[in-house]
Amino acid sequence: MSLLTIRVELPGHLRTLAGVSGEVTLAVASPVTQRTVLDALETRYPMLRGTIRDQATQERRSFLRFFACEEDLSFQGSDEVLPEAVVAGREPFMVVGAVAGG
């Protein structure tokens, strides 16, 4: 099975928690979906389990959104294939936290 190289951009606090800087690149088997990308992310960085998806329900945490290619993918089904540019590695899959502050 060939693996695709997927780029993931994490919020700062999760980069610190995972001990990474900049984008994360993951090897993900097709189909490349929110679920398969996040599964690969949590396998490689187990300290991120529960920080993006609720561990019991696997639902996206409510203060986070998913974006790619200038599209809001937050309400896309977790098994839908991500945009072609993400699958091809040209664009990152972005996990974005709600803006904090007043």
Binding site: P46, G50, F63, L64, G97
Partner: protein, 371 residues
């Protein structure tokens, strides 16, 4: 020479304050986990270099961290807190049934005898246990399922299990407390539990002497007298001399008996410390004076400890887990404020000095006395 390590949880990270036994010169390490809420940090009595920290955030949920080198480095361990079976419902603020939902870990209590074992008190209220140093967690569901759970309701801070006391003479006996359900005890290692709220009187609930529904803020015990418990309730300071089977009020001459924290002198089991707070509507000290009150008689007669504490224009709060004692002679007493100060008294409350003045709001303070 003995040393002191003060473990401080704040709204924006954890801090570790260390000093030698003189407790005059302090080193400050941190923030650890900068930007995250650190509800509690506590070390193992068996292996003091093993420290557990509860790290959480509204964005990213719960993380549990563990250090095996006294807080120099940390490792994220298990953070999966699944209720045992179908959780069911408890009461919501408006009296309707509300499903049990995990929100965060309020308190981590390492075992007194096994450094791999640690207990976690969580919101929505339940007690969890790890037997592998925090890597995995299982609910001690006898508590939540003993019968009164569906009638528990949250306090303003959430329905949190915030106090866990293990009896040093009998590890099968534990006392826990929940806001706003009350205190509960097991005598069989957590298999069965019973409410221990007889004698509590809470005017703000429909039945002031109900079996459950009391907003217990904190409980403290001296290890040499495990039958004696001291409680800071929402209003009222209470004591029990039969491990919680019944309680009597010992508020005595306190200027107000509302407050959050309570602790016991390390060497004098009848010497108790509280920080009176004006009211549940005004979470700051009366008259703008930050005063620790000390009773040397197990309650009722209290004296104000003010030396070194601000006695004008002080409007901070001291939260339930934000007071601790060391075991040096003389006993040191420590507390942290929502204004970011952590105070130390190296002489059992007679005088106070701020170790730090400008941390984020302090959520918890624990102290390790190191050989």
């Amino acid at each position: 020479m003995s040393g002191i390590r003060v473990l401080v949880g704040t709204r924006k990270g954890a801090f570790i304050l260390t000093a030698d036994g003189k407790r005059k010169q302090w080193d400050v390490s941190g923030p650890h986990f900068a930007g995250w809420e650190i509800y509690h940090v506590k070390g193992s009595p068996v292996n003091p270099n093993r420290i557990y920290a509860s790290q959480s955030s509204s964005w990213f949920g719960q993380v549990v961290q563990r250090s095996d080198d006294g807080g120099k480095s940390w490792e994220a361990v298990g953070n999966k807190f699944d209720y045992d079976g179908v959780p069911g419902t408890h009461q919501w603020y408006d009296g309707t049934a509300h499903p049990w939902e995990f929100k965060r870990v309020w308190h981590l209590e390492p075992s007194l005898t096994d450094s791999e074992m640690v207990y976690a008190g969580i919101e929505d209220a339940a007690l969890f246990q790890s037997k592998d140093g925090g890597k995995s967690w299982g609910e001690m569901s006898g508590l939540r399922k003993h019968g009164s759970g569906p009638h528990w309701a949250p306090g303003a801070g959430g329905m949190c299990l915030h106090t866990i006391i293990v009896d040093p003479s009998n590890e099968k006996r534990m006392v826990i407390a929940i806001s706003a359900a009350g205190a509960f005890r097991t005598d069989d290692g957590g298999e069965t539990w019973k409410p221990i709220n007889q004698g509590l009187r809470s005017q703000h609930i429909p039945d002031p002497v109900a079996e459950v529904g009391h907003c217990v803020h904190h409980i403290a015990m001296h290890p040499s007298k495990p039958e004696t418990l001291f409680m800071q309730k929402h209003w009222d300071v209470m004591r029990s001399d039969n491990a919680g089977d019944s309680w009597t009020e010992v508020s005595g001459n306190l200027p107000t008996d509302f407050g959050f924290c309570i602790d016991v002198h390390a060497h004098e089991p009848e010497t108790v410390f509280v920080v009176p707070i004006k009211s549940d509507g005004e979470h700051f000290p009366p008259d703008g004076k930050l005063r620790v009150f000390r009773s040397k008689s197990g309650g009722n007669e209290w004296e104000a400890m003010t030396k070194g504490l601000p006695q004008a224009d002080c409007y901070v709060n001291v939260l339930r887990d934000a007071m601790a004692v060391d075991t040096l002679d003389k006993c040191g007493v420590y507390f942290g404020t929502t204004g970011g100060q952590v105070y130390c008294s190296p002489d059992a409350g007679d005088s106070w000095t701020p170790i730090v003045r400008d941390l984020p709001a302090v959520l918890s303070v624990e102290v390790q006395t190191l050989a």
